[in-house]
């Protein structure tokens, strides 16, 4: 494309002053070079990350024994961690998505404007609360609070495998971690959903209302169809954040090594997540264990990438459909 964009009328031959007449042209070239260079830096940086992860991670793929925390091989090791990572993220999403959509609706459609604006500000602020703060709160306050609930759950709903216990009275379970993650992604999903809801064309909303729709019917007929793809991608972005979150989980979750694969959400025996496992094990890791950890980082990278990519793809596809 460089030929088309920078193509400029050639100055007539043998007339040097003409060249001097257009001092902007070099500026154009430099500016384009700068912006292209910046884009290339991203390429190089990403290539660097990818090469680093692969080179350092590959030796870990064949590890066995102590380096993979006593698991049979890397696949089993990573599999358990992936299980925990996904479980925590799924819990987070199951809780966060409906709450976020509800909150976003309140802000965009239900609350009076005087309330909606500060609510919106607050959500934006909460989206920027550092994860280490969530971790601190989760461990010193929320976990203990949840501990009592787990005892109750075990006593009253223990017949459900999810709550069969024995309950972790300290509350540092995968469920607590999932709930803290949910809190962390709620502001993200809410903020995006709110934007999308607010962008729903008034025309369509009025069309529905003029047909005699109740507020909810209007939302269902005019807002949700329009916002569907955006809601999905918001959720996926939230999922991406939940998957990669490190410190909050590392601080809140009581998991040993690679954790256990269980659906029991309230015990002291918990699955572990990839990111938390890296943060927790990296300091004591030597030799091959480091490679194993980096390889697990590669796995996490691939998962989050897949999620992000899926989100973008959904948005792109529906964007095309709407414009068609």
């Amino acid at each position: 494309m460089s030929s088309t964009d920078t193509a400029k009328p050639r100055p007539p031959k043998g007339e040097p002053p003409v060249k001097r007449r257009s001092p902007e042209r070099p500026g154009d070239k430099i500016f384009k070079g700068l912006s292209f260079g910046a884009a290339m830096i991203i390429l190089v940086a990403l290539a660097g990350v990818a090469i680093f992860l692969t080179v350092e991670g590959i030796p870990g793929l064949g590890a066995s024994g102590g380096a993979v925390a006593g698991e049979a091989n890397f696949l089993v090791y990573a599999g358990r961690l992936v299980y925990g990572t996904l479980l925590a993220a799924v819990i987070a999403l199951i809780v966060a998505t409906p709450l976020s959509i509800g909150m976003a609706l309140v802000i965009s459609h239900y609350a009076p404007r005087r309330l909606a604006t500060p609510l919106g500000y607050m959500i934006d602020l909460l989206a920027a609360v550092p994860s280490v703060v969530y971790g601190l709160w989760g461990i010193l306050f929320f976990g203990r609070f949840m501990g009592d609930i787990y005892v109750w759950l075990e006593a009253n709903l223990g017949f459900i495998p999810l709550f069969s216990g024995p309950a972790a009275t300290g509350g540092r379970t995968i469920l607590t971690a999932g709930l803290v993650l949910a809190l962390m992604v709620i502001p993200i999903i809410t903020a995006i959903c709110r934007e999308i809801f607010a962008q729903t064309p008034t025309l369509h909303q009025e069309a529905a209302l003029a047909l005699g729709a109740t507020r909810w019917e209007m939302i269902r007929y005019a807002v949700f169809p329009y916002a569907k793809s955006g809601m999905v991608s918001a959720t996926m972005l939230g999922l991406g954040r939940a998957l990669g979150e490190t410190m909050a989980v590392a601080m809140v979750l009581s998991a040993s090594g690679t954790g256990v694969m269980t659906l029991n959400l309230i015990t002291t025996q918990n699955p572990n997540t990839i990111a938390a496992n890296i943060a927790r094990s990296f300091p004591e890791a030597t030799g091959l264990s480091v490679n194993v950890l980096i390889a697990s980082g590669l796995v996490l990278f691939l998962i989050t990438f897949a999620v992000n990519f899926a989100a973008r793809a959904i948005v792109a596809r529906s964007g095309k459909r709407l414009n068609a």
């Binding site: 461990i139 972790a168 009275t169 300290g170 009581s254 040993s256 090594g257 002291t268 004591e284 030597t286």
Partner: protein, 369 residues
Amino acid sequence: MKRSSYRRYLVPGVAALALTLSACGAGNEDSGSDADVPAGTEELSGTLNGAGASSQESVQNVWRANFQGSAPDVTVNYDPVGSGGGREQFIEGGVAFAGSDAYLDDDEGQLTDATERCSGTSPIEIPAYVAPIAIAYNLEGVDDLQLSATTISGIFNNEITTWNDPAIAADNPDAELPSDTINPVYRGDASGTSENFTEYLAAVGEWPHEPSDEWPATGEAATGTSGVIEVVGGTAGSIGYADGAQVEEAGLSTVSVAVGDEFVAPTPEAAGAILTASTPVEGRDEVDLAVDIDHTTTEAGVYPIVLASYLIACQTYEDQEQADLVKGYLSYILSEDGQEAGANDAGAAPLPEDLRSQAADIVDAITVG
């Protein structure tokens, strides 16, 4: 958009930033302290980096504070990255000294690597921080729990699951034990505390697992010493093991452990006493004071579950400044004042006098090479 409006925001911003930066040093950083340190410390300057066991963090804080107090131009850093990380960084030359809960060995070739790092001379290893590993518990109405080694390993291996188990009752004839479930708490992250505790269990209890820095059995996992204390303190019926000084600080009840015919509480003195009762590791250079802790000792007044954490350094450094700093800092640690400060402010067991002077001599011989 007019240019002036950019400037309107830019100028005060830059000015504010410049002000902040020019304000410079922290309010407390120029104050000296009156700690007694070996002569010549005041002239030292530079940065000394150490890294390693988190168990040493609190005692290192005390030592660093006192040392920096009398050497204002020196900054000593100690990254509590963990023993493994500390040893690795030391071998790679990233730090001048390391703290490690286990002495160097050649299972992974680390002793050889360390010798190589120290220009071919044996690395110095000093058990500078010896502290009891206390078994903390949270059980209302029971203050002085006494347990034998077999019972402890039974509890932590999930064989003894309720507090009124006959085995516990036998050790505590006078206590009123409830029928609550025992919740054993362990370190979920790899740690020297787990390693030393499992060594003890394997040596004296009926413990089916190998000693390891990764906890082999089940229970509730917690991260770090503070995590264990947190969980034990917050969960009724739980029992866990953690650094004695911090357990005591947190106000948790501790178990007195059976040694011979008596039960010994986890005090620094009782823990320090084990160094004399233990045997040096064979085949080490004379600067390498690594010892094999004898957990089976029956000597009176010795607490058998201890964490012996080493300071690892070189005999020679290529850099004059580094050599001086290491020498100065370690000399202070091994001085009587340093030992006293460690005991008073961090709950570390003072080294037995003969060991201390031996170590001080070794450190005195650190040279530039």
